[in-house]
C-alpha cells in the first residue's frame, strides 16, 4: 500500500500542507524543530489513531485553534481510500472515510498500515512493560484490525472495574465486570501469544544476522499462571486468579490480573536484556523487533508503509545498510534526517527540505 496524498491543517507547525506522494522512498531533511517529524507523525496517526511521540492529542493542534485536520489518500492496491481525521481539543475527534462519517474511529484501523523506526524504539528494551505491550498490541491491530475493538473494550472494562473496586462499598456488580474483563483479556492474551510465537523465530534470525554472538529470544510473562493460545482457557484462568487476589484488589482499588499487567521478556543468551545488554546490543534488539514485525506483516501478505524517523544518526554503518535494504523492499518509505550526510550515499529517492514549517523539493 502507499499514500498518494497527505494534507495537514493546523497540525503542529503546519498551518497548511499539501504533499503529493509517490511509491518508493521519500526523504525529509531538516534540523530538529523544523517540522520534519510532524509529517511522519501525522501519517502514523492515520495508522494508529495516536501519536508515537505524545499520549495526548493537545500538542497536535496548533495553538489558538480547536481542531487539526489530517487527510490522506491511500492506495491499497485495489482501490483508493480517502481518510479524513479531525482532531479536536474541546470535543471528541471525528473521522470520515470516502466522505462518509464513521460512527466509531475504530473503523479507521487497518486502512493504513505502517511500521516505524524511531529513537524512542530504545524504550522497547529499556522502558516500562507498557512500551512492550503497546508494541505487541499495535502489531495485533495491524494483523487483525478487529483487535482494536477488543483492546478498547478491554481497557474500558478494566477502568470500570477499577472504579468499582475503588468505591470499596457495594461490590454486588463486581462479577459482571469480572466476566467482561476476563473474556476480552483472555482473547488479548491468546492473540499476543499467537503473534509472538510467529514473531519469535523471525526475531531470533534477524538478531543473529546483526549480531551473531548471542541468541536473542522473547518469552511472554503473564499475570496468570498458564497462559495459552486458547482464549477460553485464559478467561477461566483470569477468573480463577480474581478469586485469589480479591482482597488485594479491593485494598488497592486496582485490577491486578489481565493482559494490562503482562510483559514481553526480552532475553539475550541466559540473561534478561534489561539491565544487562550494552547500548549497542539494546539497539540491535530494538531494531530486530521492528525488522521482524515488518517481515511478519509481509509474510501475512501485507505491504505496510515504512517510516524511518530520525534513526540514521543513531546507527552504525552495518545497521544503516539493513534499514536501507528494507526500505528498498517496501512499497513506500518515508525517511527523516537532520543532515543529508547522515544518509548512506547510495540512497536514492525523492528529497525534500523542511524549514520552519515549509516543505520544498530539493
Amino acid at each position: 500500500m502507499h499514500l498518494n496524498h497527505l494534507s495537514l491543517k493546523n497540525y503542529r507547525s503546519y498551518l497548511e500542507l499539501e504533499l503529493l506522494l509517490e511509491k518508493g522512498i521519500t526523504i525529509f531533511i531538516g534540523r530538529n524543530g523544523e517540522g520534519k517529524t510532524n509529517i511522519v507523525e501525522s501519517i502514523l496517526y492515520l495508522a494508529f489513531l495516536s501519536s508515537h511521540r505524545t499520549s495526548s492529542d493537545q500538542p497536535l493542534v496548533q495553538l489558538g485553534n480547536n481542531s487539526a485536520y489530517i487527510r490522506g489518500k491511500i492506495d491499497n492496491g485495489e482501490r483508493e481510500v480517502l481518510v479524513e481525521l479531525e482532531i479536536n481539543t474541546d470535543k471528541a475527534n471525528r473521522a470520515r472515510i470516502n466522505q462518509n462519517p464513521v460512527r466509531s474511529q475504530k473503523e479507521l484501523y487497518g486502512i493504513l498500515q505502517a511500521i516505524y523506526f524511531s529513537p524512542e524504539d530504545l524504550d522497547l528494551v529499556r522502558g516500562d512493560p507498557s512500551e512492550r505491550r503497546r508494541f505487541i498490541d499495535q502489531l495485533l491491530i495491524l494483523r487483525s484490525p478487529r483487535m482494536a475493538g477488543v483492546i478498547a473494550d478491554y481497557d474500558r472494562a478494566v477502568r470500570q472495574r477499577n472504579s468499582l473496586l475503588k468505591t470499596r462499598s457495594n461490590l454486588s456488580s463486581l462479577e459482571s465486570w469480572d466476566q467482561q474483563v476476563a473474556t476480552f483479556g483472555g482473547e488479548i492474551i491468546a492473540a499476543r501469544i499467537t503473534t509472538l510465537n510467529e514473531l519469535m523465530p523471525i526475531f531470533s534470525d534477524v538478531y543473529k544476522e546483526i549480531s551473531p554472538e548471542k541468541r536473542a529470544y522473547i518469552t511472554y510473562k503473564s499475570s496468570i499462571e498458564s497462559s495459552s493460545t486458547t482464549p477460553q482457557e485464559n478467561t477461566t484462568a483470569i477468573l480463577e486468579k480474581f478469586k485469589e487476589v480479591r482482597n488485594q484488589e479491593v485494598d488497592r482499588g486496582l485490577t491486578l490480573v489481565g493482559p494490562h499487567r503482562d510483559d514481553l521478556l526480552l532475553m539475550l543468551g541466559d540473561h534478561f536484556v534489561k539491565g544487562y545488554a550494552s547500548h549497542g546490543e539494546s539497539w540491535s534488539i530494538a531494531l530486530s523487533l521492528k525488522l521482524a514485525s515488518y517481515q511478519l506483516l509481509q509474510d501475512d501478505g501485507l505491504q505496510p508503509i515504512l517510516i524511518l524517523d530520525d534513526v540514521f544518526s543513531e546507527l552504525d554503518e552495518e545497521r544503516r545498510h539493513r534499514l536501507i535494504s528494507l526500505a528498498n523492499s517496501a512499497e513506500q518509505t518515508f525517511i527523516t534526517v537532520a543532515v543529508q550526510s547522515d544518509l548512506p550515499p547510495e540512497l536514492t529517492g525523492k528529497f525534500y527540505t523542511v524549514k520552519s514549517g515549509s516543505v520544498k523539493p530539493l
Binding site: 474541546d90 475493538g149 468499582l164 456488580s173 462479577e175 465486570w177
Partner: protein, 198 residues
C-alpha cells in the same frame, strides 16, 4: 466572553448533551434574532414539558399521567416484561411491532466510572414487579455495549434464583452501539430470535 444575559444563555445551552461551545453560541444568536412569538412558543413548550411529563409509576417510561399508555393498555401481555435502559429504547422497540408485552425502564446502565451502580437504577422497582406470580418471562434488551452487558449479567444473576425465564435479544445488533441505532428489521429479528439464558 459576552456580557450578562447572552453569556448566561450560551452557558445553559452548552450544558445540553451534544452541544459544544461553538454550537451553543450559534443557537444563542439564532434565538436573539428570532421573532418574539417564536421564542415565547419555545419557552412555553419547555415549561409545559417539565410540568406535565413524568415517569410512569409502574414501568418508569415517560408519561403525562400516573401510568403510561402501554401499562394502561389491557391488550398488552402483562406476563412479559422487556427491560430497557431508556424511554427512547421503548420507542425503538415499539416501532418494530414485534413485542406485545410490557416494559421496565431502568433509567440507564451500570457504569462505576459515572458513579452509577445497581442502586442508582430502577432495579429495586423491577424486583417488586417480579414478585407478581403471573410474570412468565423477562426479556433483557439493554444496549449491546460494555455497560449494557454488565447490567444484563447483573440482572440475570438477580432474577435467575426467582425461577423466572430470562432471555436476551439475539445477536445481530450492531455491537458497541445503542439500541436506537439498530434499524427496525434488525431489532425486530433480534426479538424474534431471543434466546433463553441458561
Amino acid at each position: 466572553m459576552y456580557e450578562g444575559a447572552i453569556q448566561d444563555l450560551i452557558d445553559e445551552l452548552g450544558r445540553l448533551p451534544g452541544i459544544g461551545p461553538k454550537s451553543a453560541q450559534r443557537i444563542a444568536f439564532h434565538i436573539i434574532q428570532s421573532e418574539r412569538v417564536d421564542v415565547t412558543r419555545l419557552v412555553d413548550v419547555l415549561r409545559t414539558v417539565k410540568e406535565r411529563v413524568k415517569f410512569c409509576t409502574e414501568c418508569g417510561n415517560i408519561t403525562e399521567e400516573e401510568l403510561c399508555r402501554i401499562c394502561k393498555d389491557p391488550r398488552r401481555d402483562g406476563t412479559l416484561i422487556c427491560v430497557v435502559e431508556e424511554s427512547k429504547d421503548v420507542m425503538s422497540i415499539e416501532k418494530t411491532r414485534e413485542f406485545r408485552g410490557k416494559y421496565h425502564v431502568l433509567g440507564g446502565a451500570i457504569s462505576p466510572i459515572d458513579g452509577i451502580g445497581p442502586e442508582q437504577l430502577r432495579i429495586r422497582e423491577l424486583m417488586v414487579r417480579l414478585a407478581n406470580p403471573d410474570i412468565a418471562e423477562i426479556i433483557i434488551a439493554t444496549d449491546p455495549n460494555l455497560e449494557g452487558e454488565a447490567t444484563a449479567s447483573y440482572l440475570i444473576r438477580q432474577i435467575r434464583p426467582m425461577g423466572i425465564k430470562v432471555s436476551r435479544l439475539a445477536s445481530g445488533l450492531p455491537v458497541g452501539g445503542d439500541l436506537e441505532y439498530a434499524d427496525e428489521v434488525t431489532l425486530g429479528r433480534a426479538f424474534e430470535g431471543r434466546r433463553t439464558v441458561e
